[in-house]
Symmetry: C2
Subunit: 437 residues, 2 copies
């Protein structure tokens, strides 16, 4: 029932492979990072549960198959293919790096090994399912890194590319270290802490700002965060101070956040509201957060929307889904692409993460350090429960702590060393020679 | 059941409005463009059907309401509020510009008028539902504009921000003038023409390129598009030429597309394959397409992915959802935000599009030209069937044809004149004075 959510060519290739008698051949595909996204020193892998859900539910309804039958591109497909498609389930294997693990250019994120049709069809969905959360988790980590211990909260659903992307983005931002999200469904579905203030419409809906503040306090008690910039921020701060406790604090959403946060802090302190906190939002990104933190802005929580929910400076990631091996009746053929500007590397792989470098090796090799690619699905069955969201978030935090300081900076640094094992290099050369022959 | 897909503050405000006795007050909110996205002279409105679906299905399950009850932010909410939420349906009105209509900075895209809780909750979902398709439709129009009559096909699902965004992006790209999409579900669901070639994995899966080409031809017949850059593009072109008819043509996916398209054209022509076409893809955007077309590259179809499916140069749009009116027991209060860098304008509006300018007026005014905001939902019921996708696409094409040549260029031009009617300006001033008083 999710089978059509893929590029047409996956399905025409499926028909072609089937009718060419290749349905029993077992292909290994890998999702790998051709290069890092703009401005990034690493990415945090995310979106694996969505891949698992997809694979475990991969199927086609009768109506969907009828649609395909009607397309010109399937005119030559055999009736047996459509029968095959009706029964198709994912019976293969998925190996993936753990959610929250940092990855670098040239490294695989996951491997799918299955009869060729089952392995080919997922390409489109799988790429889309992992790249977006990976981008958002990575962007969140940058913001958290420079926040100087202040909480960063994800507020971006309204800017996400569809509402559902907002939910998945909230999840990814939490893996990256955000303290919570404004997205209520993300809270309901994933148990992420949900946070919120009030919109300008709240203030506008009452006869005046003072009345709006009192009413918000009545509704939210200690959770009250007064939004003070609807008309004039400092005037708003004074009204919020007059309204007094109970409240969590106030929120700035426009203007010069550094100057305003200082003035507002002074207003709150003078009113004896030293415990009232300041949240700041309004087109913030990691650079803006860093500048505010460095300048000592008295801001306790950063709310980030647009920039995080779209990974605005790097909205795309050059991940590929390439066939690396094909097992034809027990005989392995290694496959790669050697075209001018887009090269892929043959063979199923493993990544060994050692203290100061990663080694990309062939999948059977032994190596030093942690083996990142682990079995998630074997023979179409989930091997063990996926790590919880909290575990993924924890792994991200611990892994980032082990990176060099330069890689944790916002500026692009000397890359983390990623080298290829001797065996993998030999396989690359051998495959190239075979293809030229 | 879609009720939680919103920011928490919409729901805490809902509780606050309800418990403040404001549930009967009727609010009017509008989605407006604060400014155009980067590099754009106009946007094409899209995503209205998703807004309609959302509003007509807005509701909360018992389980969702239980979740809210458990949150600290709802500790003060009355039991009556949760009863209200359980029965909540959208009973208000939606006015929207037609899908495919160009819009400019400062203009409203849609208006929602409903009891305040019903009008507040949709903010997050509605913004997310319209901004992404609007961005993609607008980006597609730029590509189609400079394509010199060649077809532009959307191939971007794998780069979209979630697979579902790929489906909705394909729909939006079609409104913007794309000839089709690679997304099969978009074809199934919306009737968009679906297109595809083959992946590099197809070529790799066979013993050699020649065998792969023959097998693709066997599978696809006249729909065959040989992907010729897996190993060496010109060598691939010669092999495709040897394979000969039937085929639609060949696809270039890497390298210098201008030089390669000329060399490949020559190879095909020399083999007597003058009818075979050339498709080009590979990180193309509107500038790349324009350069290729200007240079006379013999390319028949452009396949665009990443740049289109994420609107990569402008992945966000500064659209706001602001309350403009509140009807309290028959007395209208006009509302606006006058904070430093984010201003909104009071009053329900209409946009009149005349031959050489747009006039933004108050909703009751008469004006010259076409009134863009039209009733879509009244009293919670769809007024008439939505325009078909083909109609939206047609409207986009006809509307773009009426824009000045400069606005249709890729470079930012003198804006289309958008002026405010005298009545609207008077209302703005009056509202400002009232708020200052």
């Amino acid at each position: 029932m999710n089978g059509l959510l893929t590029d047409l060519y996956e399905l025409t290739m499926a028909a072609g492979f089937f009718d060419a008698g290749k349905a029993e051949e077992v292909a290994t595909f890998e999702v790998a990072l051709r290069r890092l996204p703009a401005n990034r020193n690493y990415v945090l892998a995310a979106g694996i549960p969505q891949v698992v859900d997809y694979l475990l539910n991969l199927s086609f309804t009768a109506e969907e198959i009828e649609y395909l039958r009607g397309l010109a591109q399937f005119r030559n497909a055999s009736p047996a293919f459509f029968d095959y498609l009706r029964r198709l389930r994912f019976t293969g294997d998925l190996f993936a790096v753990p959610e929250g693990a940092p990855l670098f250019a040239g490294e695989p994120l996951l491997t799918i090994r299955a009869p060729i049709v089952e392995a080919q069809i997922p390409e489109t969905y799988v790429l889309s399912a992992v790249t977006f959360p990976t981008l958002v988790a990575s962007k969140a980590a940058r913001m958290v890194e420079v926040s100087g211990g202040r909480a960063v909260v994800e507020f971006g659903t309204r800017r996400a590319h569809t509402p559902e992307a907002g939910v998945l983005g909230a999840r990814a931002a939490y893996i990256g270290g955000c303290a919570g999200t404004s997205n209520t469904l993300a809270g309901f579905r994933y148990g992420i802490p949900v946070m919120g203030t009030a919109a300008h419409s709240w203030v506008m809906a009452f006869a005046g700002e003072a009345e709006a503040f009192r009413q918000l306090q009545r509704a939210l008690g200690e959770s009250t965060i007064q939004l003070i910039d609807t008309y004039d921020t400092l005037e708003g701060a004074r009204r919020a101070a007059q309204t007094g406790q109970p409240m969590w604090g106030v929120r700035l959403d426009s203007g010069d956040l550094l100057a305003l946060s200082r003035q507002v802090r002074a207003i709150l302190d003078q009113a004896g509201l030293e415990d009232a906190k300041i949240m700041a939002s309004g087109d913030l990104n990691e650079y803006g957060i860093r500048d505010l933190v460095r300048a000592g802005a008295p801001i306790d929580v950063f709310g980030v929307g647009t920039e995080l929910a779209t990974s605005a400076d790097a909205p795309t990631m050059a991940a590929t889904y390439k066939m690396v091996e094909l097992d034809i009746q027990g005989i392995k053929r290694f496959t790669a692409k050697f075209s001018e500007d887009k090269v892929s590397f043959p063979g199923a792989k493993q990544v060994f993460r050692d203290v100061a470098r990663d080694v990309v090796a062939r999948s059977g090799e032994c190596g030093r350090g942690e083996a990142l690619l682990r079995p998630v699905i074997l023979g179409g069955k989930l091997v063990e429960p996926l790590p919880s969201l909290e575990q993924a978030r924890q792994r991200a935090a611990e892994s980032i702590a082990k990176l060099t300081p330069a890689l944790r900076e916002l500026e692009v640094a000397e890359p983390w060393p990623v080298i290829y094992s001797r065996e993998l290099k030999a396989l690359i050369e051998q495959t190239r020679r075979n293809l030229l022959a």
